[in-house]
């Protein structure tokens, strides 16, 4: 398919347009490499200039504005009841598919007879998923999810209802804070220097405005996003 010659032709027209007949000179290359390695932050909105309790409040307000629902509980022990109560209140099934995530093992799921739990990846008929979130951005009420053996990304999209367990201590200010966390994870030698395959920033449930610009929730991803905030601070 001759993409090699395509590559050469494209690169050489790019260079010609800059009046060069080869790559950038070594000094420039050095400065561009430094720009990447430095990954300097640009303007970060000042709305997150507040203490941590303020950030958690901001996260919750912003998430509600985009039609997520939230509950707060004081520790992991209360999570299963809070989830069961939410599902019952919304008339949703009690069969759930849950991430094989050790973070979630801290909650006493076995004590709640209200839930039928299966761990793993979702199938098409699954109605409710439960995952934790490794991070959440206060700026816009956005959850950040990283794929991995214990974190199937399809749990974020396939079931109609997505319940997220979020320890309040994981709320950060900005997307930039999440990027730093991902870089830290990437540096872990066990990971072979690679970031997670998929990082999902999730801001509210799925929505569409494609029919006469009417806002509709639940286009293809979840119709409902429910966040249980665990006040672990």
């Amino acid at each position: 398919m001759a993409t090699d010659s395509n590559r050469d032709q494209i690169l050489s027209s790019l260079r010609r347009s800059r009046g060069r007949d080869g790559p950038v000179d070594e000094a420039t290359a050095e400065s561009l490499r430094a720009r990447i390695a430095g990954h300097k932050r640009n303007i970060v909105p000042a709305r997150t200039d507040t203490d941590h309790a303020g950030l958690v409040d901001l996260f919750e307000t912003m998430a509600q504005k985009v039609f997520a629902t939230t509950t707060r509980v004081s520790d992991m022990a209360e999570v299963p009841d809070a989830v069961a109560e939410y599902l019952r209140g919304a008339n949703l099934p009690s069969e759930v598919v849950m991430a094989p995530d050790t973070d979630l093992d801290a909650a006493p799921w076995a004590d709640t007879s209200m839930l039928e739990i299966r761990r793993g990846v979702p199938d098409e008929p699954d109605q409710v998923s439960i995952t934790s979130a490794p991070s959440a951005v206060a700026e816009t009420g956005t959850l950040a999810m990283y794929s991995g053996p214990a974190h199937p990304s399809t749990l974020n999209f396939v079931p109609e209802t997505h319940v997220v367990v979020l320890p309040a201590s994981r709320v950060v200010k900005s997307y930039e804070d999440v990027f730093d966390a991902v870089r830290e994870l990437t540096a872990d030698p066990d990971r072979g220097g690679l970031p997670p395959r998929t990082v999902n920033f999730i801001t509210g449930p799925s929505r569409s405005g494609d029919i006469e610009q009417t806002l509709l929730l639940g286009a293809h991803g979840p119709r409902r996003l429910h966040i249980v905030i665990v006040e672990d601070d």
């Binding site: 970031p195 395959r197 920033f201 999730i202 610009q213």
Partner: protein, 478 residues
Amino acid sequence: MTTSSTVHSTSRNFKNNARDQLANEDLQAALNKARGHFVDGRATARDNLPEFDDLRDQARGIKDHTLEHLDFYLEAYEEKVVESGGHVHWARTAADAQQIVLDICRSVDAKQVNKGKSMIGEEIEINKALEADGIRPIETDLGEYIIQLRGELPSHIIAPAVHLTKAQVEASFRENHTELDEDRVLEEPLSLLDEARTILRKKYFEAEVGITGANLLIAETGSSIIVTNEGNGDLSQLIPKVHIVLASLEKIVPTLEDAATILRVLARSATGQEFSSYTTLSTGPKREGDPDGPEQYHVILLDNGRTDMLGTEFEEMLRCIRCGACMNHCPVYQSVGGHAYGWVYPGPMGSVLSPGLIGVDEAGHLPNASSFCGRCEEVCPMHIPLPKMMRHWREREFESHLSPGSVRVGLGVWSFFARRPRLYQLATGLQMRMLSWMGRKRGRLSSVPLAKGWTKYRELPAPQGRTFQSRWRSGERV
């Protein structure tokens, strides 16, 4: 070879297209509903973020810096994609890109390809190429799904079906979903969405290949980013075993922080959201031990005329992040809709980009579809001087003798007089007196020789009889 390189555009017929669209009642009803929605949404989002204009300035700076060193950043990006187990394919033309997609699909014996919304997919007419090869492309974005059923082009870069009323969508669903109960109620937008959701749900699990576009590519990490609201792009890339990303090469930025700045202005400018529902970073194929995700990850970097715009007066167009704010605020687009423009990119950004990509012969008179009110440049998050570039295209169109004969003769006559000031004054003086005499009864003219196009829809106030220059000379300077 099953690929096609002929461009299917009707941009040459803009004038006739526009006339038809103005008379299309469904379109006018649909455009009326959309009008306030986007404009108010953007204004509110801007008001809610004091840093909005500073972010726009930074975003422009990031893109300018990247365009200046595009070859460097693309090579750096490629290295990272390969490092994370992905593949990069370079495509000079639409036909090259089609061929690469087909080769990948054949290698896994694909029967069905699920697609997230991709304007590059529209630009290279990938669905046609797949169908010609016996592969079924399924559009999964609700708007794209609707127009695929109807065999139409998108009429807006972020809201592909904005030209349709819900009654038209209902009619298309009834015509196509014949396996469903004929007596079902489908009046409300929600029932239409539910029907599409149910039908597409099964299809998500059937495809061997998923194709998405990319809003951004990150040189630092080799990641691609898609920004969506429905979640269909994620389902399309997570479930099939192969994920193909279609991206034009100017989508690249150096770092994740640079991407964050652009993301902060993108959704606000587009739909007025603070952040879209889903912003997804994809880096390579699934890792060892991952329970889901694609086994193969391919990125196709498309040029298709873009490198030829670099280093010219159209270079700044490559800063475009495809938010659609220019068309949402354009009085011409708001009146004639996207299909009148005749190709995949409508509105002011299309009027500048299309002649660059498919040639001034094909799309050269789109830049005339402008009142030069300047709203597009004002709301563009990347400060692209769209009106100025439309003027450049008009000059090119004139230079390449593409403007109609009557225009060329008219301008020729004008320039003859303009270069001879005495003769010019004499001629304009005569003309003023004549027009004044013609309109002496009503003070208005309902028909003027050589200006019928203007007087067809309105009357020309009759001049008072003297030219500006003669009044100036006689001392009327107040």
